[in-house]
Symmetry: C2
């Protein structure tokens, strides 16, 4: 029983093996040894994801320290301003959503005598309607997602844009990240494939591009003009890239912007679509913050495309290929942990669609409760529905709190010495710029970290406020930024940040 099955191998008898290291070089390795990271996929090694990187990991350790040794730090809790995770912080789930999902988890609730005194009638009727179509939420759905949910999404988009949408073009995904992953891995054919990404950007993009051995082609947002995109600059970047042998295949637009909080103007989107049409560039519109609008107006890329297509009869815009992404994780829903989302695909060749279908099939399906949540998000209670008054009041509260803290953060940053911040228009982030004194830069060099990392680390160690250094998102060389959410409850932490900053400047000025 349990014999040693085989004799130990004579390692020296085996040839060294040449392996590609991903940068065109090769290395020789003994084929048989316990794996270390040097043996792994070099493209994955290259990927970076700062949102849960160095500073958040330090914060996690400090959180444990506070539990084990209360009072051992100059603060009594960690403020997680590093990640857009509303329900970890102040934001309460919308009651209507959760009640319907509760019934979907336990449909026998409908049969109980007590149900009518617990849940309003529209909760029950909505749950019944979903259950009739879904069956059990414990069964795999169609790879593209439950049809009744895709119908609801198509109706939402039609209402939003004033142009029809088709349920067949909708794919339900596990958050928007899954959609990004499908699209990028499908479009990436090697280092000659370029992905035009805004700088600063949400690092999911650079990480996924790196993992797929493609090339990120950065285009810089104009900080001084509300982080806008200059189409002329974009064309320059494209032409340069082509000249260097990297074909830009895909343009990523994040609107409203993460981490910038900017919202693209309709005219700018039209110009960008003109560029995409000219160069046959696939457009990914990451629109997960479309409900988080504080100034100006959100206009979807799809709507602008349809307007262009109907006003321009030359057919110039007909072949634009667009994937528009949305999610249940942000907005007033804020249900990050449920992992719901959708993408709408427009203008794709059927052979490309078939490959996306295949990728979705291999992953089987997104969580079915989250698919149901998508249908609730795009079709919330209406005036007259039993759940409407409470739902409306909850939405007003969530929105009002976000707006209040966005303003407070914005004005606080602009009061701090050497700090400037654009007035956030959307999303849930500020991305203030810090003109750090020479002495702080020298100190960070001594510590062997980038100056923005040094600042964020000091901020964390002194106040417990966890943010992400701008270098994780990209920034103009020699400038330093910090991304912070405005989700954390209360305003005390903003006061603490101001106090810290004054002390930091007094030390390093």
């Amino acid at each position: 029983m349990l014999p040693k099955a085989v004799e130990p191998l004579q390692f020296e008898s085996l040839p060294q093996v040449s392996l590609e290291t991903g940068n065109g070089k090769t290395k020789s390795v003994a084929p048989l040894h316990k794996l270390t990271d040097a043996d792994l996929n070099p493209f994955i090694l290259n990927a970076k994801y700062a949102v849960r990187g160095r500073i958040p990991m330090e914060a996690e350790k400090l959180k444990h320290q506070l539990v084990e040794h209360p009072g051992s730090l100059p603060f009594d809790k960690i403020i997680n301003a590093n990640i857009g995770n509303p329900q970890q912080l102040d934001q309460k789930p919308l009651t209507f959503y959760r009640r319907v999902l509760s019934v979907l988890e336990d449909p026998e609730l409908i049969e109980t005598a007590e149900i009518a005194s617990i849940f309003p009638a529209d909760v029950i009727s909505r749950a019944k309607e979903l259950l009739k179509s879904i069956g059990s939420i414990g069964a795999y759905s169609h790879s593209q997602g439950v049809k009744i949910v895709r119908d609801a999404v198509a109706n939402y988009i039609t209402r939003r844009d004033g142009f029809p949408a088709d349920a067949d073009d909708i794919f339900l995904t596990a958050g928007a990240s899954t959609a990004v992953s499908y699209l990028l891995e499908l479009l990436a054919t090697g280092p000659e494939t370029g992905f035009l990404i805004p700088i600063p950007q949400y690092p999911l993009y650079t990480a996924t591009i790196a993992m797929n051995n493609a090339t990120a082609v950065p285009y810089y947002l104009n900080e001084d003009d509300d982080w806008s995109i200059d189409p002329t600059e974009l064309v320059r970047v494209i032409e340069n890239s082509i000249a260097e042998g990297v074909i830009p295949r895909c343009l990523v637009l994040i609107n409203p912007g993460n981490p910038t909080g900017a919202i693209l103007k309709e005219d700018d989107i039209a110009e960008l679509l003109g560029v995409a049409a000219k160069y046959s560039i696939f457009v990914i519109a990451d629109e997960v913050y479309q409900e988080n609008v504080y100034r100006g107006e959100f206009v979807s890329v799809k709507k602008v495309l349809r307007k262009l297509q109907s006003s321009d009869k030359s057919g110039y815009y007909d072949d634009v290929q667009l994937a528009s992404l949305h999610s249940t994780s942000k907005g007033l829903t804020g249900e990050c942990g449920q992992r719901g989302g959708y993408m709408e695909l427009i203008g794709l060749d059927p052979s490309v669609r078939a490959q996306i279908n295949k990728l979705a099939s291999i992953s089987l399906c997104g969580p079915v409760t989250a698919q149901a949540l998508v249908s609730l998000m795009v079709n919330p209670p209406k005036p007259g529905d039993a759940s409407y008054p409470l739902d409306h009041q909850q939405r007003e509260k969530v929105y009002g709190d976000l707006l209040k803290r966005a303003h407070l953060l914005f004005s606080s940053f602009n009061e701090m010495e050497g700090v400037s911040c654009q007035n956030p228009m959307g999303a849930m982030y500020c991305f203030p710029r810090f003109d750090l004194p020479e002495k702080a830069v020298l100190e960070s060099q001594r510590a062997g970290v980038a100056p923005d990392v040094f600042y964020c680390e000091q901020l964390l160690l002194h106040t417990g406020i966890c943010t992400v250094p701008g270098s994780g998102f990209g920034q103009v060389e020699g400038t330093y930024h910090v991304r912070t959410t405005f989700l954390a409850p209360g305003t005390d932490w903003i006061e603490q940040w101001k106090t810290f900053h004054a002390e930091f400047m007094a030390t390093y000025r």
Copy 2:
């Protein structure tokens, strides 16, 4: 407003661009054109996933036809025996699980006056315990998963194996597929990376290997000996592969087997671990069917490894690297649509663990309700708990139905002319072998499909029974198999299959 932003490009002015096509060849393409599949990642184009492939897609069309034109086909419904999707078919969700999840979705239920008359006390206490640790299920969890759930998993493994497990080694994943995806993409460094996969296998493996440009190194299971693995044959395959320059980095064991329904013997696992130790091969133990056992006994690879490590003092087995996968989708839980699962990582270098952490971070986290479901699966109601009697009775029913249909299918196949089937030991599949007559093979060639595809297609068109041809899983050249689940309710469909088969043989014999 909405100007045409840029002049149409002079396409002929742009150089042709050389692209790798993935098989070492290059092609020239005009850089600017609407994408077709020829422009996409060739490794993704190469991936195949038969479980939702040709036959299931035909079945989907027939299902629509039956809705639109009832009575237009020789059957009145589709029997989805192609995919292990219990709750799409007969299997009811376990009430205890769903009640707890229902409270997690709407924690305000706990505060209602009626709750005590709706849910047993252990449902409420379990939900409270989870909520206390999780907070809101709408927040992203730790990338590795909620700690209290990982603790529960570690306790389960400790009880199951009699060897301790550590919550730090547990990663909660969105089904087992996500774990497979992380591991394979991380280990794949190019075509010189070999993945030893059983033939027949679950096509997630070949698909993911293809997508990551690595090499599937097949080892054949011995059909005549309950689909067992011969370690000597495995060594031969490894040595051959090394000689050809493909280093086997990873051994995939599917136990209980999909599609074979076989269960590995403890002694065989020990020998296979000896091979893995000798050649420093990372082991993936896909153990998602560990609860689906009808004959013999399931012993985990981890348990055998720990036994070997404690009995062998030479340290021979100390460096074995193991990932063991489990899921909430199968077994008596059968909650495919919830997307829950875990992997336990043993013996990995910290630098490799760090990369898996990073991949999990980039995906943010698995669905949090599904994480909670994992904790319920590994810690179900115990005798004495209020929910125990019903839960126990439901489990007996699910298990009994599976066992009954497994036997019936097995004996039915062996009664059919030219068909042989191993007696299923575990999982939820039979993989019978069909010795198809020469005339049927010729007919399939005329139709331009493989003989097993031809058989499955005829079966579908005549009876509505949807299965998957053996070629989707791999089979010895010249043999033909069909994978069918034994989940579909009733026994009528098995009788219909027998009738069809007799007619098929009468036609082509």
